[in-house]
Every structure is written in structure tokens, then in C-alpha cells.
């Protein structure tokens, strides 16, 4: 690996952001070696990406580009934001191609890129929906037209092709389009912002790549344009649907369409990382507090409502009809990652990790070619995965996120290296020019809670290795070269400073044991119920795994009995399952009744059973069956 390659930045690059507390590492600094996350990357590379191309062909996304480019005739196909799926898929392909050359994938990407280049209008405009279907309505419907949203995904794909592959074809398209946009929108030009945020963070990335201040200014302009109450909502919603009720700096509630909210927060965070404007960070902190204290599902999923795909009221967290869109989970990861970079505080990594292993990973099937758009915490048996969706924002979004997973593992500062997520991996960090620190991470995380960090090379200087201690961990220990050390924990990280030498071994034990979790008493559908979590992994009962005659929708769990973990290599790609003691309820006394006067009822008959729990992310891979995360407690009525 050459020094040059090490300097290639990843998807979000804060290596030069003046207000980043932590600096992202070059893309190839981290290589996932084995284990759960590495396996997902393999599936992505060998199944998802090619599947994605087939689907983009089948759903009409590429057809639309061909028509716009004059290569085909025909109508525009699908909803007005289909271009964005192609861009997200391309971004995912870039990570894949950087990790492992693949001629077939390269050819597919070339085909798409060439079509994109050919479809761009002479003035720089590019949106196949408006070019084909409503040529006279460019920028006429900012609220629902998705033009800037699609542009944003183009910019992000272009940035990644430039950074990772040195391929500037998309970047040329992107900057031409960005300049066209800048000629139309601005303080002295047309006012307004896109109903669906995305362009904000992408313009900051474009600024990071090109150094062009005007892209940063345009990002700021679009963020400042929000909150005037001008946008038309949807259904029962007003401007809050689009986060347009109040300006970001005054906002106190995370509200409206969850994906839009998360993407806006990511964009605002990016703006803060470059400008350091305190009012932005204060607003981000307020909204993060509102989300994590009142509006976050245990799985990290956000968006309580189908209606408007939106956040609900505080503590409105249904299990069955929550939306928890996969894209919203991704948006939350993007936001939390940027908050972590801005502050260095582990609580953001906690939410990122909780989301990653649960509400995000549930969005893709083990085969890599089926997806969940919505990620409920309770299914009564009908819900199942699809190979694509009419609104297919999620599948390519999953692909690009998995492709860049290594990005989230570690960062660096002048003081040292921070480890945020744990996976078997190789890390190379050039703390000083030409002198690499090389670390090897050995772990079966999240199946075990022990992580060995082997120093393979260091630079001779003192520096701090910061190891994240997740909020769920109780009694975590750190040992260096076999001897326990008292590593002070600050802001969620155990800090170990020394002049590291090749051969040093740090052993972290996070004490991973399964545990019961309960929710705030104001949350209704979790009342008298418990969830099982083990490390960052949330568990669920799936009907398939239970003893004959057990209906998981009529069971209780006994919280006094110990939970038992077991590694099952042959199950669901290899998972740790958890066994719990519980009861199967006999609902015969309720037959024919939905409601009864209290006096009518005797204690419900029940018999002891063993309940088998699997990781939530792995559900829905064996056909449609019932599933539940929250289980009523044995003592409950």
C-alpha cells in the first residue's frame, strides 16, 4: 500500500475541517478483515451491487437517462426522484471497486456514468424527470420536485468517484450542475430550498473536494432558507413535514418526515464542521436530545408514523405501525457520525452503533438482494422483504452505507487514534508524514465483547489510544500486554496513552452479556414489556424459532430467569442466539372477546416455555412469520 493511497479520503472527509474535533481517516486506512461487518461488505460486493444494476434497468431508472440522453424514446418511468437511485448505486459501486477490482461492475458503472454525462443539458441542468416529463416546470415545485435532492446525490457520487477512483467524469457533471444551481439560487437570486434535504451535505462535500467557497455558501443558503413556513406539507401535515416550520437555529423539536429531518441534520452538522457556528451546534444538540429522549426506537429506527413517514409526538413509539424507514436509519447514522466528529463524544457513536446493528442492518436480507423499506418492531406475520420498491430509495442507500462501513471504525486527532466501532480489521494511520501506525484488531464483535488491538507498527511518539466504552457496557476492563490497567474513561472512551511499540497488545473486555431492557413509562406499546439486548444487538422472537404450539404473540418472558447465549454458526449466517424462560398464555378465556369487564376474568392460564431470540437484524429471512422485539413480562396483566 503506497502512502499516496492512504491519503485518499473517504465519503465524509473532515481531515481539514477546522471545527472537527476528530478527523476522518483516508478510505484505505481501515480494512475490515472478517466478522459480521466484513461479511456484509462481501455480500454487498458479490450480490447486492449487481442486483442493484438489474433493478435500475428493470424499474426504468436507466431508461430515463437513455431517453433524456436521446438514446431511446419513450415516457419517463416511475416517480420523479428515480435519478437519485442511480447516483446512490454508483456511490456504492465506487466503494466496491476501490476494495476489489471487478470488470463487470466497472462496465455497469461506466454505462451509467456515460448516460449521465450524455443526459446533462448544455446549461448544466440534469434531472431526467423534468427533462422528459415536465420540461417547462424546472424548479417549479421545490417542495415535492426533488430536483436538488437528486442533484445532491449526484454530487456525493461524484465526490466519491473523484476521491476513491480518481475518476472525475461525474465531478465534471456535478460542478457544472452545481454552478448552474448557483446561478439560479442565492441571497440575491431566487429564494427557496428543496423539500427533501440532501444537497446541503453534498455541497459541503463538493466544497471539501474542490475548495470552492461558493459551494459552502450555497449549502448555508439552502439551510438558512428553511423554516419560513412556505412549504406545502402532505396529508395532515403543514410545513413541519419538510422541517420548514421554524428556522433550524430556533428549532426545539425534531419533527416531520424522518429521512428529510436526518438528512437536514447531517447537512447542518457538515456546515458546522466547516464554519464552527455555535448556534448550529446548539440547535443540533437540542434536536438530538429531543430525538434520543423521546422519539427513538430501541433499534435506532426513527419515524414513528406511516402518516408523512414522520416523527411522532414524544413517546409515540408504536411497535407495529412504526415506519423506521431504512433510509432514516442511514440518515441518523450520517448525522450521529458528524456529531461524533464535531464533538468527540461517545454518546453519538452509541446511537450510530445501535442503529447500525439493528434498524439499519434489518433493511437488507442475508442474501443481499431483498430489502425492508419499513422496519417494524412487531410483525403479526404478513410483512416480508421485497427485491426492490416502487420508491427504491433504501436499497442503494444500504449498499453505499455498507460499502463505506470501514469509514466509521476509527478517527485520529493530534493526541492519537480513536476506535469507535469494533471489528476484526487492519488499520494504518499516518500520524506523521511517512511514519505509519499500524494496528490489527482481533475480535468477534458483536458476538463477543473482547477486542484485542495489536500494535504492528508505531511512530515512536507518545499518543493516546481511545477505546469506545459503549453505554451498555458494565465493568469494562482494559489490559496492556496482559496486565490490567486503569484506563480513565472520558466522554465514553477509555484513554490509554504511551509510546506504543510494535508487539504491544491491548485487550478490551466490554463484558458482553445479554440483558433485559425496558422503555420509559410514557411509551404505551412497551408497557410491562422487556426487550433483550446483547451488546449493541437488539434481539427479537421470530415465530419460526419457537417450540411447537407457542404463539409468540401470546407469550410472556420471565425476567428473573437468566438469559443464555449460544453461538449458532449454521443459523442466519452465524449468530449468537439468546434463550429466555417464559410462558405461553392460554387465551381460551378470551375467546370471542376483545374487551371484558375486569371482574369477568380469572388469572390467565399459562405454561412454562423456552423462548429463543435471534438478532433483530436477521429477522424476515425465512418467509413471512410473526416477530416481536418487546415481550410482556411474566408478572404483567
Amino acid at each position: 500500500m503506497s502512502a499516496l493511497l492512504h491519503q485518499i479520503p473517504g465519503p465524509v472527509d473532515t481531515s481539514h475541517s477546522p471545527f472537527a474535533r476528530l478527523h476522518t481517516l483516508p478510505f484505505e486506512s481501515v480494512t475490515l478483515a472478517s466478522g459480521l461487518l466484513a461479511d456484509w461488505q462481501k455480500t454487498n460486493l458479490h450480490a447486492s451491487l449487481e442486483h442493484g444494476f438489474r433493478m435500475l434497468e428493470q424499474a426504468g431508472n436507466l431508461h430515463n437517462f437513455r431517453v433524456a440522453a436521446g438514446r431511446e424514446t419513450g415516457e419517463y418511468r416511475g416517480r420523479n426522484f428515480l435519478d437519485s437511485d442511480v447516483y446512490k448505486w454508483l456511490e456504492a459501486v465506487a466503494y466496491g471497486l476501490r476494495s476489489e477490482p471487478n470488470a463487470a461492475l466497472q462496465a455497469m458503472a461506466d454505462q451509467a456514468i456515460e448516460l449521465i454525462m450524455a443526459a446533462q443539458q448544455p446549461d448544466g441542468y440534469l434531472n431526467t424527470y423534468y427533462q422528459i416529463a415536465e420540461p417547462h416546470k424546472r424548479w417549479a415545485d421545490l417542495d415535492h420536485g426533488h430536483e436538488l435532492y437528486c442533484a445532491g446525490h449526484l454530487f456525493q457520487a461524484a465526490v466519491v468517484f473523484h476521491r476513491l477512483l480518481g475518476d472525475d467524469r461525474l465531478l465534471t457533471v456535478a460542478t457544472r450542475f452545481a454552478d448552474h444551481i448557483a446561478s439560479i439560487f442565492g441571497p440575491d437570486r431566487r429564494h427557496g430550498a428543496c423539500g427533501h434535504p440532501e444537497v446541503e451535505m453534498s455541497l459541503v462535500e463538493l466544497y471539501r473536494v474542490t475548495g470552492e467557497q461558493r459551494y459552502l455558501e450555497l449549502a448555508r443558503f439552502f439551510i438558512d432558507q428553511r423554516g419560513q413556513g412556505r412549504m406545502r406539507g402532505l396529508g395532515w401535515y403543514g410545513p413541519e413535514y419538510h422541517q420548514d416550520r421554524v428556522p433550524v437555529r430556533q428549532a426545539t423539536e425534531i419533527e416531520g418526515h424522518a429521512v428529510r429531518a436526518m438528512y437536514l441534520m447531517a447537512g447542518v452538522s457538515d456546515l458546522y464542521l466547516e464554519t464552527g457556528e455555535k448556534a448550529l451546534l446548539d440547535a443540533l444538540e437540542r434536536l438530538w436530545q429531543d430525538m434520543t429522549r423521546h422519539k427513538l426506537h430501541l433499534t435506532g429506527g426513527v419515524g414513528a408514523r406511516y402518516e408523512g413517514e414522520s416523527f411522532g409526538d414524544p413517546y409515540e413509539l408504536p411497535n407495529d405501525q412504526c415506519y423506521c424507514e431504512t433510509c432514516a436509519a442511514i440518515g441518523s447514522m450520517m448525522w450521529n457520525w458528524r456529531m461524533l466528529l464535531a464533538t468527540g463524544e461517545g454518546r453519538f457513536a452509541d446511537v450510530l452503533e445501535q442503529t447500525l446493528y439493528n434498524g439499519f442492518l434489518s433493511g437488507i436480507a442475508l442474501d443481499g438482494t431483498h430489502f425492508f423499506y419499513i422496519n417494524p418492531l412487531l410483525s403479526r406475520g404478513k410483512y416480508q422483504r421485497a427485491e426492490w420498491y416502487e420508491v427504491a430509495c433504501c436499497p442503494p442507500n444500504v449498499m453505499r452505507t455498507i460499502g463505506a462501513l470501514g469509514h466509521y471504525l476509527a478517527t485520529s486527532t493530534a493526541e492519537g487514534i480513536q476506535l469507535h466501532l469494533y471489528s476484526a480489521a487492519a488499520l494504518t494511520v499516518e500520524r506523521r508524514a511517512g511514519q505509519s501506525v499500524r494496528l490489527r484488531l482481533e475480535t468477534d464483535y458483536p458476538w463477543t465483547g473482547t477486542v484485542r488491538v495489536v500494535v504492528e507498527a508505531s511512530d515512536g511518539a507518545d499518543w493516546t489510544l481511545a477505546l469506545r466504552i459503549p453505554a451498555w457496557s458494565r465493568g469494562a476492563t482494559v489490559a496492556i500486554n496482559g496486565a490490567a490497567v486503569a484506563a480513565p474513561v472520558s466522554q465514553g472512551y477509555a484513554q490509554v496513552r504511551r509510546a506504543w511499540r510494535a508487539g504491544d497488545v491491548v485487550e478490551l473486555d466490554l463484558q458482553m452479556v445479554p440483558r433485559f431492557v425496558e422503555a420509559h413509562p410514557k411509551v404505551e406499546p412497551t408497557r410491562c414489556s422487556l426487550a433483550i439486548q446483547r451488546g449493541p444487538v437488539v434481539y427479537c422472537l421470530e415465530q419460526t424459532d419457537q417450540e411447537a404450539g407457542v404463539d409468540i404473540l401470546a407469550v410472556q418472558v420471565d425476567e428473573r430467569a437468566p438469559l443464555e447465549s449460544q453461538w449458532e454458526p449454521g443459523l442466519l449466517g452465524g449468530v449468537v442466539t439468546v434463550m429466555a424462560a417464559g410462558y405461553a398464555l392460554d387465551l381460551t378465556p378470551w375467546e370471542g372477546h376483545l374487551y371484558r369487564s375486569l371482574g369477568d376474568r380469572d388469572t390467565l392460564p399459562r405454561r412454562p416455555v423456552r423462548l429463543k431470540a435471534i438478532p433483530y437484524y436477521a429477522w424476515g429471512n425465512r418467509g413471512p412469520t410473526a416477530m416481536r422485539v418487546w415481550i410482556p413480562r411474566a408478572g404483567s396483566a
Copy 2:
């Protein structure tokens, strides 16, 4: 009162329906004298109906008719089904005018009727949306166009104007339109049905009024057309949204848009009442069982989901985000009424009454001029009533239902008279030509459970007085002239047969005491919770009524302490309130947490408080405050 007037049928007339087990009484057979239902009729007459006319003017409904009639120029205003609101309002006015002459209301009605007549096309077609906005798209979008739905409401209004007021202006319009429809749709003509049922039951009513068999056949045709899977759904829904997934006779699940489902069921019931086709009654029974065992809120509300305004899965009954549209409650009342007429079984009257006093009556404010479209069982404080809605199906639907409330009180058969609902009222039934039975009902129901039926005149013959014993009643007693009698209860009715004489007094005591109700263990958001019900009235906690410092969203109720009722004449128009013992929870240990590991938590501190419950229907009349029907039990976690 002349004998002629007594023979004027009410809104649904089964006096000649061959398969009706019970026969509806003429409209003026029942006069509500005083009490809750009578008060609502007064509010309707003196506030709601004129408010409705103002709103129809303001929202553009009448403007649309003026434009269609060539009296004004301009665009069509509002959604494509606005005509139906005018028809429903007219139907409501007809009941009002029959009860009490009112020159101002008559003038408003005349204005609307005259516009409707003028707007009808020469070929009989009438729909202002298609006439103004999309003249070339008549019948082009049966799924979402609402043309037959609007027609149905026209027919129903026309039938009522004809029956109650002898005013045939609308009936002429209606039959011309119906004949036009019959010239287009039919087994040998165009196939299809309206996405929103309504025309089915209205065509049966048109048949009842005119005796024209072809209207009954057309109703059957539209019902038979359903279930081919041809209709385009909405959002995440397919044809089940429109009850088009399976033919009615094969259906096993009540599903899709709740108002549409209820209206279809009412139409199918009407078809059964006239044809006696057993497969229809079997299907109705199956779907009723599915609804009442799995998909009915305690308030009688139906429609668990905002998404598609639809039924959910079995036991999916959220408190906060349920839809429980007022129109769906009305639809359920219409369906249950027809099932009662078809079978004579009290279980249908039970559901009708539960819906009437709760999920229906909550739809209108005490002032008669503000409404709920959606009727949740839990509000965290933001939800409030509006004077009208962009989709204003509910307000005029409430008005027509309240106008015809007397209709639901009693029926007759060859054996006697059946009392279904209880209110202070005067009843006159001509069991034999020229010989009236007159009954006076004295009661403060639903505030008390005692009902006195005073026989003021009888016809000398033996006949059975059947008194409904609601399912909630325990130990109901019947006395005649002061002496207890053992009245056998059959299908929910206590039967007392004798040769009734003037002066006979029957006293029914339903033993109305407040009680706790619990829900099926598979319902999630009611787990470990209880509701309070007293007679048919469901109670709720509204924040306004509680002691200082009590947050109703953080309380528990103690089911071991007695509930105490109190009549409060000055509160909310006069209601019985219920006091319960409970606890206010101290949530300090949860501050800053949404989830916690089980071991983290000590028992939640709490202090004893008194909780005051008001009838659910009366909530939301004192500004936006929190409200809940289901209250966690004191013993719950």
C-alpha cells in the same frame, strides 16, 4: 298527529323489506323528549345546520354548484367529492325541518336544491367536479373519482326529502341521474364499481321509495362487481383499500379504508334485507365477527391506521394514532342497525350503542359547530377540534345522523315492540290500522340505568314488549306495575308479553355502575391498562380536570378501590363524572433516558391521587389538553 304522518318512513325503511326480522317505525313514531340525545338534536337544529350552510358556502361547495349551473364563473374549488357534503347536509336539514319548521333553514335548503336542479345535465348526469374541472373524464376514474359516491348521497337526500317533507324536487333529479347511471353500468353494459361505496345502500333506498326493481338490481350489480382486484389502492395498499381484493361473498377479513368498508357492509345488508340471499348474511356475519373480535376500538371507533384511513391487522388498536374517523363510526352504526333489523339480535344494538355514545358523539363539540375528523383514545395535548375540514365528510354526516337518532330507538314486529336505545321519549306505534299503541319512556339514560315505560294507550291485543339488556348490564331487573317479573332474556332482549292497558308501567333497571374494562392480551397499547366504562359510556381522563401537579400521561389507576359516580349538571352540558383512586408517578429516575437496562431501575416513586374521569365523547371541549382512555394499572410496571 294524523294517521297519515305516522306512516312516513324514516331514513332506512324496512317496513316492507321481506327479509327484515324487525321493521323500522315511521319517522314520527318516536319523539325524543329530553336528555342527552334530545339535547344533541336541539344543538343540531339550532347551531349545527346553519353552521353547515355557512361552511358549504365558505368551502366552495355551493360555488361549485353555481358554476356548474352557469350562475357563476370560476374554477372548481376543493376535492372531487365536495358535492356529497351538500347532499348530506340537505338530508340533515330534512330531519330538522320535519321536527320543527324553520323558515331560514328552509330557505337555505331551497337555495341548495334549486342549484342542484339547475346544475343537472340534460342527460341526467350530475357531478360539479367533472362538469367543471374534467368534463371529458366522466366515469374515467371509478376508483378515486367519487362520482357514484356523490350520486348515492344525492339519492339518500332525495329519498328523505320525499318521505319526510313530500318534497320531490330532489327525487326527480335523483331518479333521472340513477336512470342515467343505469344506462351506462350493468351486466351487459360497462362493468365496474365506485371506489367509495355509498351508492349501493342509496340505490336500495331509491328502490324502496319508487318500487323500481332496476335500482335494486343496480345495487346488486355494483356489489357483485367488487372483489376482482381491479382497483388501484393508495400508498402501501392494493385493491384491499377499496374492499376489492375478494368478492364480498368470499370475504373473511374486514379490511382497507374503514369508511368504505362500513358503507359497503351497510349496502350489502340492505341488499340482504330485500333479497334474503343467505351468502350475503353469512359474509356479513363473518366480517362482523372479524371486526368486533379483532378490530374495534373500545369507543366503537374503527380504522386503526392513518395509512389508508384503514383497518389494521387483528389486535392492532393503537390509542394515539388510531384513525377512528367519525364517518367510520357512523358507517358502523348504519351497518349494525341493518344487522339488527335483519336478525333481531341485541349484539348488533350493543355495538351501535357503544359507537353512538362514544366514537360517534366525540365527533362533534358541545357547541355543535366544531368537529373531530379523527377520534383518538389518547392525546398528548396537541389535538383539537376544527369548525370544518378540507375533507369535510364528517360534519354533515354527524348532522344527518343526529337528526335521525329517534329512528334507532324502537322497531316493531307482528309480536310486538322492541326498544333498542333508551331515552326519555314518546312512542306511537300503529300495530293495527287506526289503533295506536302509545308509550312514554321516562329515563335519564345514559346517566341512570332505570327506564320507566308508561303505556299510555294500547290496542287491546296481547303483544310483547322487548327491552334490550345491554351486554354490559349485570343483574338487570324488570318490574310491571311495581312487581318484579322474571322476564326471559332472548337474543339480548327481555321479553314481556301481555294485553297491555293504559296506565301499565314497566320499570327496567340495568344496574348502571361504573366498571373497569380490560382489553385482549394481544392488544399492545392497552397492556396492563384499564378503561372506565359506565353503562354504554366510555370515560377518559382529561388533563384539565385533574389535581394540580398530576400529569395524566404519568398516572396509574388502582383497580381495587371503588369507582364513584357523580352527576355534575354544570360540567360539559351535564355529565356523570367518575372518580377513581390512583397514583401520580414520579418519573425523575427516568430523566434523560428513553431506555434502560432492567437492573438500573428501582421501583418508581409514586403518590396517591384522585383521578377524575369524564365521558369520552365530551373531551376536547376546553382547548387542547392531554386525554387518555386507557390508564395503566397500579400494579403494572
